[in-house]
């Protein structure tokens, strides 16, 4: 019989066999090779650049490949103030990403409008697109952004392969008037 080693993977007498579920295998593959799309508009973007740079080094987590095309991106990282005029563009970028896709909202402005409680600024990107993880801070330090990305990784690893087909997910997207590309 197999022995449970860390709760996720079983081996048979350590003889080179591993048993796991397809969900977990695919989740691990997705989480350890995410292609982020940085949507950086202001000071949070500078912190994000530091996160990408050699000191903090996102590449440690399999994320060295920034995808500046939404078609090939898995993770949308929104870092900075989003004005109302920019909102339709952000929404279009999100819609162009293929499933499965995740969103990380970096900083107070992207999460809630921050100090810009004014007529021209979108009061949080979750008014137009669904957000998976929020990173607080004004701007957050690179450690905080990495913590947010670790939380994204935890979500990705645990996500059921059926989630994107579920009625709950589709109705959540419908709440944002976004059509899903999962049929």
């Amino acid at each position: 019989m197999g022995k449970i080693t860390d709760g996720k993977v079983e081996t048979i007498d350590y003889q080179g066999f591993q048993l796991t579920t397809l969900d977990k295998a695919i989740g691990a593959a997705r989480a350890n090779s995410m292609w982020p799309l940085p949507f950086a508009t202001s000071c949070c973007g500078i912190e994000y650049m530091a996160t990408m740079g050699s000191n903090y080094d996102l590449a440690r987590f399999g994320m060295e490949r920034m995808s500046f095309s939404p078609r090939q991106a898995d993770l949308l990282i929104v870092a900075g103030t989003i004005s109302k005029k920019l909102a339709p563009i952000l929404r279009q970028v999100y819609e162009q990403m293929a499933e499965p896709k995740w969103v990380l909202s970096v900083g107070a402005c992207a999460s809630s409008g921050g100090i810009f409680d004014t007529y021209s600024v979108l009061q949080g990107i979750d008014r137009i697109i669904p957000v998976d993880v929020y990173v607080p801070g004004c701007p957050p330090r690179p450690e905080q952004i990495i913590d947010g990305i670790m939380n994204i990784h935890a979500l990705v690893k645990e996500e059921s392969l059926r989630r994107r087909y579920s009625d709950k997910y589709k109705s959540m997207l419908n709440g944002y008037n976004i059509e899903t590309d999962v049929k």
């Binding site: 005029k85 809630s112 004014t118 007529y119 021209s120």
Partner: protein
């Protein structure tokens, strides 16, 4: 203007000699000559300043609007900052226009750079620059239905519900 060859007194005397009564008021806050002219004459005065052989005010530094909601029939001011590159000399020129008819002649025929400044002033204050080639919104969303820097509108986003006004002094 410390390094200028032209003094405020000289410039004002030259303007008064040319326009006389059209100079409604003149003062020098922070040593910057500031004159008020009727809105109907602003274009003519600016054109003369640009073409005058002595003053040579050939550069439009800035153009903007102000809203004074309590001043009857003088609700809006259009402020021009005009600069002479040759003489290193500046003038500020103001014209007041009423809320009932917030329009003034464009100066895009004199300064091409006024194009976007007038669009911005229109965008935020609703001031109509008659004769402007493309007086549309420049910074705000195209479908915005008000002019947000007018003081009858609140600055804050009115769709936000998570702020307790008591903690923000309002």
């Amino acid at each position: 203007m410390s390094n200028s060859t032209i003094t405020n007194e000289f410039a004002l005397a030259r303007l008064t000699a040319k326009f006389g009564d059209k100079i409604i008021s003149a003062e020098t806050p922070f040593d910057l000559l500031t004159i008020e002219v009727p809105s109907a004459d602003a274009h003519e005065v600016i054109q003369w300043l640009k073409e005058d052989e002595v003053l040579k005010m050939t550069y439009l530094t800035n153009l903007g609007g102000v809203h004074y909601p309590t001043e009857a029939d003088r609700e809006f001011a259009v402020v021009y900052h005009i600069h002479s590159l040759v003489n290193n000399y500046r003038i500020r020129l103001k014209s007041f226009i009423p809320l009932s008819n917030p329009s003034i002649a464009t100066i895009t025929d004199l300064f091409v750079g006024a194009n976007w400044m007038e669009r911005e002033t229109f965008d935020f204050y609703g001031i109509i620059f008659t004769g402007h080639p493309n007086l549309t919104r420049i910074l705000n969303e195209e479908d915005m239905d008000y002019h947000p820097m007018r003081k009858e509108y609140q600055l804050e986003d009115d769709t936000r519900q998570d702020k307790d006004n008591r903690f923000f002094g309002r």
